[in-house]
Subunit: 90 residues, 2 copies
C-alpha cells in the first residue's frame, strides 16, 4: 500500500491526500477513480479542489479490517500513473 495512506481508528478508515499540477490532472485522476469505484463497487468519500484530492475509505460497520474489495480498490488506485499524483511534482 502506498506510504501516503494513513490508517485511522474509531471509525476504522484509510485516508490519503494527493496533489496535482493542474485541474486537468486532477480531473483525469477523478475519472479513473470513478471508473474504479463502479468496477469494484467501492465508494470512498472524496473531496477535491483544483489541484488536490482527499480520499477517505471507511471500513464496513463493525469491521476490524478492510474488505478484500476495499484492499483491491486501494491497490488499483495506487497503480495509477505516478505523473497523476504528487510524486512527479513534490
Amino acid at each position: 500500500m502506498h506510504p501516503d495512506w494513513t490508517r485511522r481508528e474509531r471509525p476504522l478508515r484509510l485516508e490519503r491526500r494527493l496533489a496535482f499540477p493542474d485541474y486537468e490532472a486532477t480531473r483525469r485522476f477523478l475519472e479513473q477513480a470513478g471508473a474504479l469505484s463502479e468496477q469494484e463497487g467501492v465508494y470512498p468519500d472524496i473531496s477535491f479542489g483544483r489541484t488536490y484530492v482527499n480520499i477517505t475509505l471507511h471500513a464496513d460497520d463493525n469491521a476490524t479490517e478492510l474488505s478484500d474489495e476495499q484492499r483491491r480498490f486501494v491497490d488499483a488506485l495506487d497503480a495509477f500513473q505516478p505523473t497523476d499524483t504528487n510524486e512527479a511534482h513534490p
Copy 2:
C-alpha cells in the same frame, strides 16, 4: 439562484448539497460540473460519495460579493437537468 444554495459569511461562501439516486447520476453531475469548472475557470471545493455531492464556492479573498464568473458558474450549475439532482427523487 436555486433555493438549495446557502450563503455563509466569514469567509463568504455559497454551499449546496445535492442527492442522487445512484452513483451513475452522481458521476454524470460531477462530469458536467468538471467541464463547467474548466470552461469558467471557477473551481469550487467539492466532496462526494456514492449518492451525494457537497459544493462550497468561496468568494475571492476580501471580496464582499461573488464574482461574475462565480455567479455564472452557479447559474449554469443550477441549469443541469433536474433529473440529475434530488428534485426528481425527494
